[in-house]
Symmetry: D2
């Protein structure tokens, strides 16, 4: 057992941290100010040009597509600029995701943001050569963006078999119909492709009925009905959309891995994606703890620094303990994915999905409280971090469903069916 990072992880961690300090930190406050101005008067969905400049710089330093999974990266890491020319293991990538999580724009800058990373992984693992050429390469290049459309407004989508949208094969076409929401990324003007999940054959076995289809964003019949807010925040320029699909026809070759394969693909897609989400949240929680400690030492009330008042020290200690526990749990889940693949880490991946957002929400809440009214405002990244953590208790499956998975596997050890 060895908790030290590999040399490559340590090197990349140092370089990502340096890039963030030198290139992102100086411009990020201005970025948020400009975005706020656009929200008041202008178009916040039009990405600010600084993003493209930062992307170019990151790519020039090899800090590009670092999420590429070691075992599936092939030569894409060479062709699309990942430092070292090969992908990383989950456990090596994890600390980089943590760092990126500290900034609202870093994931985009390093071409490592959700849902594009997950979609790229799907194409890497399951895409046909044509699908990869058409969609994966421009995504790796950072030229286009993508969305993932699975959740539906009209049913409890925590049970994916509830899905009512359809993807019916009709000759050499697939006909796509239905309504999806919380489709992250559809707000971006560069969004060119939607990974759509729908019912193909209701007669099939419960987990073989659905297909995943690549639907061009501007195909006839695709309509972004509105952009949703999460607690008042629209997360421009990616955003979360409600999208209707009306008799959308795409070639049958747009189905990924063939009809009925959607659940098999989703299974493989979600493990690393959840590790990334969780590590980014851990980065946010660390940032919140830093801000909280700093504030607790700088501000005084009743003649003492806040740090020395009431239960603040104990809460700071609890935050440190909670973050460290959560990070170790995620690293361990990442390692399980590395050594045995998604089926080896079903419980672990659901565990982190439950534990980390709740931890982050609590730590950030504590830091907000130390900031007084300021903690509620946009003057600090805390309110936004809090919203992100809260949303993650629902996104990618609500806590309750993941607890159900963990319990089923636990009770299964004692012979329980489900």
């Amino acid at each position: 057992m060895d908790f030290a990072p590999s040399e490559r992880a340590a090197d990349l961690t140092a370089r990502v941290a340096e890039f963030m300090a030198e290139e992102i930190a100086p411009v990020e406050p201005g970025y948020h100010r400009d975005l706020a101005d656009l929200r008041r008067s202008g178009d916040p969905w039009q990405p600010l040009s600084v993003l493209e400049e930062l992307k170019a710089k990151a790519r020039a330093r090899g800090l590009w597509n670092l999420f590429l999974p070691r075992e599936h990266a092939g030569d894409y890491a060479v062709r699309f600029g990942t430092d070292g020319g090969e992908g990383l293991s989950n456990v090596d990538y994890a600390p980089l995701a943590e760092l990126m999580g500290r900034s609202a724009i870093a994931p985009l800058v390093f071409n490592c943001n959700a849902p594009d990373t997950g979609n790229m992984e799907v194409l890497l693992r399951y895409g046909s050569p044509e699908q990869r050429r058409e969609w994966l390469e421009p995504l790796l290049d950072g030229r286009i963006r993508s969305a993932f459309t699975m959740t539906e407004p009209d049913v409890a989508s925590s049970d994916a078999t509830n899905m009512e949208a359809t993807a019916v094969v009709d000759g050499d076409e697939v006909v796509v119909n239905g309504r999806k929401w919380w489709s992250t990324g559809v707000g971006h003007p560069d969004c060119q492709v939607l990974v759509f999940m729908g019912l193909t054959d209701p007669e099939e076995d419960r987990h073989r009925r659905h297909s995943m289809v690549l639907v061009p964003r501007h195909a006839p019949g695709v309509k972004v009905e509105r952009m949703l807010d999460t607690m008042g925040v629209h997360d421009e320029p990616l955003g979360h959309g409600e999208v209707s699909f009306t008799d959308v026809r795409v070639p049958v070759a747009n189905i990924i891995s063939g009809p009925g394969e959607a659940f098999a693909i989703a299974q493989g897609r979600l493990g690393p994606g959840r590790v990334h989400h969780c590590m980014r949240l851990i980065g946010l929680a660390e940032l919140a703890l830093e801000l909280g400690c700093t504030r607790a030492l700088e501000r005084s009330a009743f003649g003492k620094p806040l740090a020395n008042l009431g239960g603040n020290r104990e809460r700071i200690a609890e935050a440190r303990i909670a973050i460290d526990q959560a990070r170790l749990l995620v690293l361990h889940a990442a390692w399980k994915l590395d050594v045995g693949g998604p089926l080896n880490a079903l419980s672990e991946v659901s565990q982190i999905k439950v534990a980390v957002p709740a931890m982050a929400q609590k730590v950030i809440d504590m830091a907000m409280q130390l900031h007084g009214g300021g903690g509620l405002s946009s003057d600090f990244p805390l309110a936004g971090a809090w919203t992100a953590a809260r949303a993650l208790r629902l996104a990618d499956g609500p806590d309750e469903v993941h607890r159900g998975v963990v319990a089923r596997l636990e009770l299964g050890k004692y012979g329980a069916a489900r």
Copy 2:
């Protein structure tokens, strides 16, 4: 001991509920849609006309200024339309505040919204006849609005003695300087007066140094620097402002109750105000539980209504228990205020300020979780309710300070100094 409401409370509760069902509920969704449209393109700070229409209706039915405290209402209840022509006890008003809390606009409609109610109470109890004529009467009439400016951005304002703004007497004028934030209400175009709290005499005893001054909103030197958001929400049309005061000169007669009286006034002001805030939050929590139960019965996953999945029933039970405990605690605090005044209820008022927002936040969070992604969006009032509950853990004094008050009084029973 008798937990039944008085006849007057029962009658008014029924009538307020009826008004809300008949007049407010049908128009509120449209109100929020129109406000959202104004946010995207327009001026959300300009109150929608429906508000004035509703105010007129409420007043016509005597559902106006119901917050007026029994013992201080004098003939204002008669002159300004409160049903029955006299004020209410705290314990009788409490269930009305709970009902109003279920709607984002009802408090305004009934002329019972913060911070105007608190400011009116201050003027009732401590204002001179001139101050009451000039400011209280138009407030009771619903013609103008007001703000309370106490919290400062540059110091930990949870310790009010930290305050750096000044209100210096200079002959027959007071000169006001400083910077305040979280001044609720300054965004409203009808806001005509700011109750300003500042340092007058640093040589005086710690709680006799500050004065409360009535500053006209448009006096030279008063500037609303910006409107703050709480977690992305601006709470138009009232809003929370950052306000600078630069050599603002007002007549010395604008000091309420004389120089050095600010802390004495604040003490008396805050008890009922906190009861109101807490009862409104209880209303929000009840609404959230209702929405949660309804959703839990309507939506199904894994072949069962959500209500029958996992821990949902246990969480619904915990929510019911938590709400009922909180309501009883607030009613008891209101009763203590009624029978013995603010000094009789110091611990109780701080207790509810700690217990209720935390309870509401938890209950609303549970209901959000039952709503899935929808719970995060503006499609339901839950996200806004959550923000309101979270903010109340800081507004009017952070939890930690109120716990300090409760502990001081508790340990004082055993002879502890402080």
Copy 3:
């Protein structure tokens, strides 16, 4: 709404408090020392003589059988010495139960201890004149004790319909068979009667199958197999027993209220009993908070009284808030029982059963922590109080079952079946 106690409640509260201070407090430490000695070498099941002396004194002052319910007391309150000659309402008795809860022996001293009170209530409400003469009168007289045998070791007894013990009518006898445990009170040498619950007619409707039978403690076939401990504690001299019943024959007249009535009786029995349990726990929690505050002020570490270290003040405040909320919830449930009977207060009674033991456990835990190692030992009443609170999360129905009841009634408001 009026939170002030009635005159009678206030008077009795003062007198019970006085009796406890003057008569019980001085001898209780010695009582526990003597009991501990008997545990090491002797027979702790033989009640110490001081108990009978205290009972005589309490009775002489009219502080006897105060639990007698107003609406069922009849002339028993006169004949058996209750002050004022009539029973009390639940809401008037509640503060007396709280006081008694502060002492491990007070409930016995005032003839107000479980399970005798519950059994006496059953006989009062449902007993035949003969049953009352034979069992109720000596119980009211304090001459005998009783036990309630319902829970069974071999099935999950949280679902009472699981019960496997039988009470089969055979001519003019009932034949009782089965094994029960957690039969509180069977350890006492004065225990003369067991209220037994068993299956009579499996063909009947689910809640009409069981009967309640009065079984003399020394009837042939009744055997106390062993006395159980709760976390190492045997609660002598009452204790909790495992009891086997083997072909025990008693007259059919020993069935209370007729065959098949057990559930109907249990329903009525448990409301007030749970109010009593909960109020006693609130007394324990108050005692723990007192001890905690005292210790926090007396002991110092790192140069300060414990009260001023870390989060101790905040925890003391949270304890005060939690106790007050819990007390109000129980008083409200007691009032609901008073005004509408058990069926009017189903949710309320289950609510307190969930909320109060958890609250007490937490508050006592906090006080233990303030006492350091001493808090774990028998030097303070905290460890015993903790055990009592923990046990109450299972006794009289586990938390989970009561949450189920609350949720069922809550969801029922929206039309849910169960």
Copy 4:
């Protein structure tokens, strides 16, 4: 980063598990029954002979003194039978401690129980050759036992500088006076030596005033005043004693590492000891989860296995998550100790001391609840496990003090003094 155990750890884990299954599990229930009988009538402080038999078997298989620290074991591992002839790293020993923790007697059987392990470590690291010959060797041999006497009844011992007991050098003797309690191990008839900590020079620097002295258990002036219980449990045959020292004179050579060195020694002693305690608790928590899952599948209520009722599955999932997080935190702390020694792991060691007992208490509580009344009794190891976990929130420093350490080190990163 690699979470796989070393080969040696894996091998020993398998062999310890096998020994426990083959040798300990079959006799442990009988051991507890016999001990319970001795408690009722007999001398529970006289160890049952089965213990010595098991010790001999364990030693014969090399499963002896496995706690011996790699870097200090020297040739003791060879001479006293540790498999492989050398000590283990903390990270390799950790899973063995977890396994041992599942049994109340295993730590004794493997000669790996507290406080002997800690005392042996002190002698290994800081003892003179004579001290090691006299005390360490018989301890490693399992012939004698020891106690650690630090906590005092009259002061808040969470602040060790509060200590009032004295160890005054008088020529070539040390004179020891004072009163200690919670001296674990003094109840055992083989206890031959007490490691005593007392004040030597009040003029010295705060952390240089105290000495650690080896005091023979039967030296004149040493008196075990009484054996303490934790929540009714005496933990025979080791037990926790209150011990008085009255003018006890021992040679000055009995001071470990010289006068004034007590704090320096304590620092080094406690790191590994806390890892051991925590891993044993994790073993108990795992056992509780196993028992809970088994019970949840075996027992039914309301027509379903408990596992499918209410929130039970979610609680089982939360338990799994909590255990795994806690284990990783401890393993990481053990690794930090291995790679950098105690000063490298101050925060980590305090973190686990806070996190693990609280986790264990919660998980065990959940399992108790699933067991109904049985969970409170001695029929299952849960009640005892619960008591052990609760006690560990105070033993070796209360949670609050450890949170203080973690917070101090955290705030120290931002320049805070203390």
